[in-house]
Symmetry: C2
């Protein structure tokens, strides 16, 4: 099977689990509609894929990871809903459909985001796991998503957009938190659930960090040279504003070299695992070769 085929499988796993774990009967219908509108908007489900790929790699059942995978997708989705708000990026369209606040209204979008975030912890806390594992999953998840992780990265990104001359290290620190933290968490959650040796868990975290940077550089490169129809936003849309990107700071060739280095580091981390990890390697290839 190819990475594409596995991605399709993992995507179905998390989408089926999401429908099972979100309880429509316990909440106002409008809230349910708004939450599921964005949850079901599709996307590659990269975070759940990374988590399931770790479980596959260690021969553990995917069912172990459903709650953590759904929680990851819920938190990723809430962050997109809030980022799209008029006070933030003010986006009208995401994945070819009206953004949540355009489809519903701003207040509903704010609350749908709040509910997705809170309910993600509810779902994770109700997973049938040894309590010590649940606590570890929740502790690391909240670190990755909170002020020291995703939210902090988002705030710094917003501040950086307002000023010129953002350095490479600032750009990296923003991406590490804004998008990298949840990618790393997906791998670490897989390691916790699969009971990997500690050295493997550390190597998976390192793999996640380099994969996250590679993912971002590839995003920036696609924005310069990608096919507009495939990536769903105007190509070059980062260029018109002052937003710092890898190609702007390093030149297009420099960005491609940086991408190559991150791929090499990612592969080195995988080589340290106590097991073969072909699915993680294929996911890496997919991330850096994707054209959208």
């Amino acid at each position: 099977m190819s990475a594409q085929a596995y991605l399709q499988e993992w995507k179905q796993e998390v989408e089926t689990a999401t429908r099972r774990l979100i309880d429509a009967s316990s909440m106002p219908d409008r809230l349910f509609q708004s939450m599921t509108y964005s949850l079901e908007a599709g996307g590659k489900r990269i975070r759940p894929a990374l988590l399931y790929a770790v479980l596959d790699t260690y021969g553990r059942p995917r069912a172990l990871g459903h709650e953590a995978a759904v929680a990851l997708e819920m938190v990723h989705t809430y962050s997109l809903i809030h980022d799209d708000l008029p006070a933030m990026d003010d986006d009208d369209v995401r994945r070819g459909r009206p953004t949540n606040h355009r489809q519903f209204d701003e207040a509903t979008a704010i609350l749908a985001g709040d509910a997705l975030l809170t309910d993600a912890f509810r779902i994770l806390a109700h997973a049938e796991l040894e309590p010590v594992k649940s606590v570890a999953l929740i502790a690391r998840f909240s670190e990755a998503a909170g002020s020291a992780g995703m939210v902090g990265g988002q705030l710094d990104d917003m501040l950086a957009e307002k000023r010129a001359g953002v350095s490479l290290s600032t750009l990296q620190s923003i991406h590490e938190r804004k998008t990298g933290a949840l990618l790393v968490y997906a791998l670490e959650a897989g390691a916790i659930l699969a009971d990997t040796p500690l050295a493997d868990r550390q190597a998976l975290v390192r793999f996640g960090k380099h994969l996250g940077v590679a993912f971002q550089i590839q995003d920036d490169i696609l924005d310069v040279e990608g096919d507009e129809a495939l990536i769903g936003k105007r190509v070059g849309s980062d260029e018109g504003n002052d937003k710092a990107t890898y190609p702007k700071l390093l030149g297009l060739d420099g960005a491609k070299q940086a991408l190559e280095r991150e791929v090499t580091e990612s592969e080195a981390a995988l080589a340290e695992l106590s097991v073969e990890a072909p699915r993680l390697r294929e996911l890496l290839d997919f991330v850096v070769q994707r054209n959208h």
Copy 2:
């Protein structure tokens, strides 16, 4: 000591714990400023007070409850920040100071709320407790705060404001979730931490439900006849709009009788505890006798 004196003690406990548990060094300074601006805005800290009062009642150290108390206040604070946003209640002033989005900006206020909510789970997950207790605290907390609790109640409240003829049962269902759920959680968290017998935990939950309704009816009565300088908002401000309140649905006398019934039920719940609970009784008196 009087309820007032205990409230002062509990307030200091949670405020000291908050300063200790929020780590300024791990987040952008602007995010820290915005989060602490609203966290330190004061208030009666009723939720932490209820939790500490349960620990006091069962002779358990307050230090057991610091993380849960701080998490409660963080989630309450995030809900106020998001409720005040232009797309929601559009309030410029809270507790005599500019609301968070007026003091900072809307994007920062949204992110400060998101971070307070996420970090509340981080702090709770890092409490040094038996893992099974941590999981129970987190599971119940996320239920109380999420789509089935506070966020769902807030969305229904918003929808109810737009239409006339809200029934008493709808009004109660909204308050039970919007404000009641976190009050009940404060008591239940105290019971979990104090290892009370199950019957005591159930009685504390029942106490919390009636206390929550009493709290809300008293709020509505104060809005009709309170002293403007004390409550800090225009007296009668609920009257000008179509907002459903207990006095509007039951008349002022009817509301006062309903309040009396809730107090009686609250006292009955306390009488069922396996221990004497003078501090919880005083907190109840404080809630229904307060003039602001």
